[in-house]
Symmetry: C2
C-alpha cells in the first residue's frame, strides 16, 4: 500500500528477534502536523512519556517503532535509552532528532539491547526508505498473525493507517500502536479534534481481553502535501479508517476465531451504553459461549446485571438480540433455531442490547475467548 505524498518508511532487523524485522520508521519529508493519544496506564513506558512530550512541542514528523521489547519498568536508564534511540533514528531518517516520536511494544521489564540498536541505526542506508507501508506494518507486529493497514481518500488527499496489537488490549483513550498518515493540509487544533473523535468510536471501543497496555500509542500525521480538505469529510473518512483497523485488530485478537460486535441502545446516555457493552464484550463467559457458538443469552443478562451501579436498568425493559433475532424477553420459536445456529456460527457475531431507558448508544468490538488465548499467554516470556 502506497503511503500518501511525501511520507517514506523503513523497516529492518536490528537483531532483537531472529525471525523477522524489529525496527521500523515512517517520516514525512515535509514539515508536519501531528496529534496523539496515549495509554493512561500508571506504568506508561518512556516511549509514551517522550512521545507525548514531543507532540506537545508540536514538531513531530516521524515515528520509530521498536518491536518485541516494550522498554517499560526499566527505570531512569530505560528513559535515557528511549531518548537515545529516538534521536539516533531521527538523524538516520534525515529529520531533526527531536522531531522523531518513539513507540515500543513487547515484553515488559527488559532494557533495550542498546549495542544492537545503536549499531544498526548508525548504519541505516537512506536509499532503503520506501514509499509503501507494508514493511513497516509487518515489522511492528508481535503476536499479531497478519499486518493491519487501511486507506481512505478525501478529495486529492489520501489517508493511510497502520496498527498492531492483539493482546493486552482494552485501550483507554488510545490503543496499542496505531498510526495514520495523510497528505491533507490540516491545522493542529482541527487535527487533534478529528483524532479524538475518530479514536473515541474506534480504538476506544475495542477490547480483546480487558487488559490495558503500558505502551498504547495512536498518532496521526498530516503533512499537507495534497492541500486543504473539507474537514467534515476528512473526519468521517478518518473515523471510518480507524474503525477498519479496529475491526482488523479485534478479528486478530490473541486466539480469536470470531469478531464479536456488541451494541447497546436505549441507554441513559452514551457512557452507560459503552459501560454495558464493554461489560458484555469483556465477560469471559460470554466470550467462551461465542467461541462455542452457544446462544447463551443468560450470560449477556448476567453481564448487564453486573453493572450494578446502573440502578435505572430494569430487567423487564431490557431486550437481548443475537444478530437480528430476539432471545429475551421472547425466546425464538423452534422454527427459528436454524437461523439462530447460523447467526452463532458466523465469523462475525453481533449481540445487541436495548435497555429501554433513553436514547444513548454505543458499539464495541472484541473477539471470542479460545483455549488458544491461554496457550499463547501461558508461556510468553519463558
Amino acid at each position: 500500500m502506497q503511503l500518501p505524498t511525501a511520507f517514506v518508511a523503513y523497516s529492518a532487523r536490528a537483531g532483537l528477534r531472529t525471525d523477522r524485522d524489529d525496527l521500523a520508521m515512517v517520516v514525512s519529508r515535509r514539515k508536519c502536523q501531528a496529534a496523539g493519544l496515549f495509554t493512561r496506564s500508571r506504568f506508561a513506558g518512556p516511549s509514551v512519556l517522550i512521545s507525548r512530550q514531543r507532540l506537545a512541542g508540536g514538531d513531530a514528523r516521524g515515528v520509530v517503532v521498536v518491536a518485541s521489547n516494550a522498554n517499560v519498568a526499566t527505570g531512569a536508564q530505560g528513559h535515557d535509552d528511549a531518548v537515545a534511540v529516538a534521536e539516533q533514528a531521527g538523524r538516520a531518517a534525515g529529520i531533526e532528532p527531536h522531531e522523531m516520536l518513539i513507540a515500543s511494544t513487547g515484553v515488559i521489564g527488559r532494557r533495550y539491547p542498546m549495542d544492537l540498536l545503536g549499531a544498526h541505526l548508525s548504519s541505516v542506508d537512506p536509499s532503503t526508505f520506501t514509499t509503501t507501508i507494508d514493511g513497516f506494518a509487518r515489522a511492528i507486529m508481535t503476536t499479531d498473525t497478519v499486518p493491519k493497514t487501511a486507506e481512505r481518500s478525501v478529495g486529492e488527499s489520501r489517508l493511510v493507517g497502520v496498527a498492531k496489537g492483539v493482546g493486552m488490549i482494552e485501550p483507554h483513550l488510545a490503543t496499542m500502536l496505531a498510526f495514520v498518515f495523510t497528505d491533507a493540509q490540516i491545522a493542529g487544533p482541527e487535527l487533534r479534534r478529528a483524532w479524538r473523535d475518530a479514536v473515541a468510536v474506534s480504538f476506544n471501543a475495542l477490547s480483546v481481553d480487558g487488559d490495558s497496555s503500558t505502551s498504547d500509542t495512536a498518532v496521526v500525521f498530516a503533512n499537507g502535501a495534497a492541500g486543504p480538505v473539507d474537514m467534515d469529510l476528512f473526519g468521517k473518512q478518518l473515523a471510518d479508517l480507524c474503525l477498519d483497523l479496529t475491526r482488523q485488530l479485534a478479528r486478530d485478537g490473541e486466539g480469536a476465531t470470531k469478531l464479536l460486535v456488541v451494541t447497546t441502545t436505549g441507554a441513559r446516555d452514551d457512557d452507560q451504553a459503552r459501560r454495558v457493552a464493554k461489560s458484555i464484550l469483556n465477560s469471559p463467559l460470554v466470550k467462551a459461549a461465542v467461541h462455542g457458538a452457544d446462544p447463551n443469552w443468560g450470560r449477556v443478562a448476567m453481564a448487564i446485571g453486573k453493572c450494578e451501579a446502573d440502578t435505572d436498568i430494569e430487567p423487564d425493559r431490557v431486550t437481548i438480540r443475537f444478530g437480528a433475532l430476539e432471545l429475551y424477553p421472547t425466546p425464538p420459536g423452534r422454527a427459528e433455531l436454524d437461523r439462530l445456529r447460523t447467526i452463532m456460527e458466523a465469523e462475525e457475531v453481533h449481540i445487541a442490547v436495548d435497555l429501554g431507558v433513553a436514547a444513548g448508544s454505543a458499539t464495541t468490538y472484541g473477539c471470542d475467548l479460545s483455549a488458544e488465548y491461554v496457550r499463547i499467554n501461558a508461556d510468553y516470556t519463558t
Copy 2:
C-alpha cells in the same frame, strides 16, 4: 460432617438432572436468627429477591436450594414459581412456609420444571432428614468438582459452613451460594455485623473470572441451641471459616489448576488495595502466566498500571514479589532462579505488591486461567 445441634439437612433428586441430586434443604428445628448478603446484580433472580425480603422479616430458619436451574430472567411467572417452591419446601421440612429461604443456581432464562418439583416436594419423607451436611454440599454443586465444607468451634458452639460456585464468580458484597449454620446464641444485629465483616475479607475477596452471578447468596443461621458465645472469638472463627470456604472455591475455579493469592500493601487505603489486587487477580494475562508458571511480572505491572484513576501510584515506589522473592524493581539473580521456578510451579501462587503510598492492604483469592475454562464454558447450555 455433623451439623450443629438442632440443624437437619435433606438432599434428593427431583429430576432436574439425571446424574445426581438437585434439590436440598437445611432447616433449624429451633427458632433461629439469620443474616444474609446477596448479589447486587440488576438481573438478580427471584430467589434472591424473595430470600432478601424474608430475611428482612426476621423469621428465616431454613433454606431450600434448587441446583442446575437459576430461575433468572423468567419474569413474573418465575417469581411465583420460586415462592411456590419455597413454601412447599417449608411445609415438607415442617417449618412455617414463610420461614424458608430459597437459592437457585444453574442455567439462566429457563423456568423451573414445576411438575417435577411439586411432585417431589409433596412426597418428602421426614425421616430422611439427616444431621450431616455432606449430601446437601454435593446436591448444590453445578460445575464444582468437589463439595466444599468447613467447620470451626467457639466454646460449646459449632459453626458449619458450605459453599458452591466455580464460575461466574466475582461476588460484590456476597458470593455464589454459601451457608453457615451455628448453634451459638447470637442476637440479630450482632449476627448481621459479624456476617458483614466475615464476608468482606472472604467471599468478597474472591474472583474466578470477574463475572458476577445473578444468584449470589450468602446466609448465616444461628439457632442458639449451644447458648451464648464470646462475640470476638465467634467473629474470628466465622471469618476464618468463610476464608476456608473461599479458598476452596478459588481452588476449584472452573478449569483452575492453581490457587492464586494476590496481596496489596502500602496502599492509600484498603479500597485502593482491593482495587489493585483485583485488577491483578482478574487480568487474563496474569492468570494465563500463572497457569504456565511463567514469572511474567511485567503483566503484574500492567495490571497495576491500568488502575489509571489511582494517580498516586508511582512506578518507582512500587515493589512486586512472587512468593517472598522480589521481581521489581530488583530482579532476582541467577542463583535465585531455581527458587523462582519452585514458587511459580507450586499449587498455590502468591503475588504481593507494595504501592509505597500508605498503610492500606487487602488480600484477594482467585485461580489461574486454563484452556479447560474455555472448554467448560464454550458449550454449557447446548
